[in-house]
Amino acid sequence: MKNSVLFGTLAMAGLSAAAASAATLDDVKARGNLNCGVVTGLAGFGAPDANGVWEGFDVDVCRAVAAAIFGDENAVEFVPTTGETRFTALSSGEIDLLARNTTWTFSRDVELKFDFIGVNYYDGQGFLVPTALGVTSAKDLDGATVCIQTGTSTELNLADFFRANNITYQPVAVQTNAEGQQQYLAGACDAYTTDASGLAATRATFEAPDDHVLLPEIISKEPLGPLVRHGDSDWADLNRWVLNALIAAEELGITSANVAEMAAAPTNNPEVNRILGTEGEYGAMLGLEPNWAVAAISAGGNYGEIFERNIGENTPIGLARGLNAQWTDGGLLYTPPFR
């Protein structure tokens, strides 16, 4: 008797495990919120504010997706992940979407079985050093001690860079950005290396940011983007087109301020109409409400607004658009058309 109960329980567990990998959108809808993996704390990209509300450039991607699904940008459960835990969290189904300045690489896409849904920040790896060190180039760092977040692609770039330039260094492995910052400020390492955007964000939180300088070398390409698990293309499509909608919205002049007005009635621009659901059935094709993009854009604004509010030139982080400008402005942002 007891044994049959045991088997029943085991069989049920097996069935629910099998069902979990089916349709992520249905699971998310049934749960009532999106589980979004974010960084453990990187100013401007993803960090809780004084009231514990998560905000940042990557966090806004999560919010836009949640808004597109539920019409509520707060229907997100943020799961902080480290460079080491993020992939396990995603492949185990603990999170539905990972928006955590993660570099799109071949092995992560193909071997680790993930789908990158696009690039939300074109970055490169840089070095941060104290001005007092008198170093002007990364090639002057022969023999230096370098703090590096373990389990990242930057770790491999660092090894390759020093090897290619025939200079040596001592790595100090740190787990999180906060730990790297603490070690760097204590002088336990001469230089701190990670994505240049992350370095700028970290430097912005220093007491005296001007005492530290970013070296001119960018030693790698780091296209950072959100990603989902392999095996559910519908879910990947949904996330990809929410991100595309944010980028297209900037290109087409849709902002959080005028989106409601533009969505009220069809405009002269058919592409705007298709995005905002006043023409065609694009929402239904994604399994969403017709006004999915309106909700996503209302949540945090278009791509440009999200950028300016979190990491733009008027924030302490002060990043220029650079490569992340629209293609019409000489940048790399170029969405496929909505048609």
């Binding site: 097996g14 092995s107 023999g143 001690t145 491999l156 390759d160 492995a173 392999h230």
Partner: protein, 412 residues
């Protein structure tokens, strides 16, 4: 009528006996449980493989032969294996294994020394000494080990000077200076002179080993003389002379083959000499102090388990207190101490996997951390790690069981 010798009727075996006959019932239950357990394990394993297959992942250890691509902080492991970023993930795992072994070995030694001393002192009749030991035990036993590791590590990195503070500035006193020109404590590690083995140093080492053996043999001889005749030969100074004199003589005869290299500030860091990483030191100290606190209590329990009559008997024979402790109490206490001590050694070894918190490249950090992350082979890496720690623990248990057997009460 012929009388028949009735042998009891031989009943044929019936299936119901398996349940109703007490002779077979326990066997039935055991077989049934074993089958259930096997089915359960098979079911779980099958489930895992099916789920992995549905994700398109098959267990595969080929990644061990691919290029690791990351660098590891210089440590004993990289020194032994000559690891560079061009080596394979397997080599990186080996580096980790060596580093784990080093910190476990050092930790076990220091924890034992600390534990035995503190355990004896805790029973001291001196109020201050016994209270101080109590504070040590309670302080370390009741705070998570991870906090101690992080605390010690951050004391090192925050409080000690940076290497560039050692730089000599014209017309000013530099912020820090080396001790005797040979030792430097920095927030990146401790630097000290390292021996440089020149030609002929092999002979010197051989002489050293031989003279240590000779010293031990002399000790045996002196004990034998003592037990056989009651005559007490001097012990300490002849042993020191036997151990050291030939080595010193050989050192000069061979033309000073071993010299010292001193650490010197060069560029960003000290170069030359021996560098002991702060991460290793913090981990070693924290592990030893933490486990030492538990060993203290084990030692105390062991000593208290020896009946007071033993002490009194030893005093009656005119033995001094420290001899009583060393020759009468501790040998008997060992029998109580060793089994729980073994489990503390196992704990220490497994707790060394907390190294990841301070970036010490143990096997959990290389194979189970960076390699796992770069290759995504979580199942394989965790399986290997599990087997490794299992093997390590079984080896420690084996050695400790041998030790236990040698300390057991020998009946004559």
């Amino acid at each position: 009528m012929s009388s028949m010798t009735d042998s009891p009727p031989r009943e044929s075996f019936r299936l119901s006996q398996l349940i109703y006959d007490t002779r077979y019932r326990s066997l039935t239950i055991q077989v049934f449980t074993l089958v259930l357990v096997c089915i359960g394990i098979y079911w779980l394993g099958q489930n895992l493989l099916t789920n992995l297959a549905s994700l398109g992942l098959q267990p595969n250890f080929a990644f061990l032969n691919s290029r690791a691509g990351y660098d590891i902080t210089p440590s004993i492991g990289t020194w032994i294996t000559g690891y560079t970023s061009a080596a394979t993930h397997w080599d990186a795992a080996l580096v980790g294994v060596y580093n784990t072994l080093l910190v476990a070995f050092l930790g076990i030694i220091l924890a034992t020394v600390l534990g035995v001393i503190a355990g004896v002192l805790r029973l001291s009749r001196n109020w201050l000494v016994s209270r101080m030991m109590a504070v040590y035990v309670e302080g370390f036993r009741n705070v998570p080990l991870l906090l101690w590791i992080l605390l010690i590590y951050s004391i090192f990195s925050e409080a000690l000077p940076q290497p560039r503070d050692f730089r000599e500035v014209e017309g000013a006193v530099s912020a820090a200076s080396m001790t005797w020109g040979a030792f430097a404590a920095t927030n990146r590690g401790f630097y000290m002179p390292a021996p440089v083995w020149g030609p002929g140093s092999g002979v010197l080492v051989a002489v050293f080993v031989a003279s240590v053996v000779a010293a031990v043999l002399y000790r045996r001889y002196a004990r034998k003389v003592l037990f056989d005749t009651g005559r007490m030969l001097p012990m300490l100074w002849p042993m020191v002379v036997i151990a050291l004199l030939p080595v010193i003589a050989a050192y000069f005869v061979l033309g000073q083959p071993v010299s010292l290299s001193y650490p010197e500030l060069a560029g960003f860091n000290f170069s030359g000499g021996l560098r002991v990483d702060n991460a290793l030191l913090a981990l070693w100290l924290a592990l030893s102090l933490y486990t030492g606190a538990f060993i203290t209590e084990i030692v105390r329990a062991g000593i208290l388990s020896v009946s007071k009559g033993q002490t009194e008997a030893a005093s009656a024979l005119g033995m001094r207190p420290n001899r009583t402790m060393n020759l009468v109490i501790l040998p008997q206490a060992m029998r109580v101490i060793i089994p729980p001590l073994t489990s503390q050694y196992l704990n220490l070894t497994k707790n060394s996997s907390l190294a990841i918190a301070v970036g010490y490249a143990d096997v959990r950090a290389t194979l189970g951390g960076i390699s796992l992350n770069q290759t995504g082979r979580a199942l394989e890496c965790m399986l290997m790690l599990g087997l490794l720690y299992l093997a390590l623990s079984l080896a420690i248990s084996f050695v400790m069981n041998l030790f236990n057997a040698s300390m057991k009460l020998k009946e004559r």
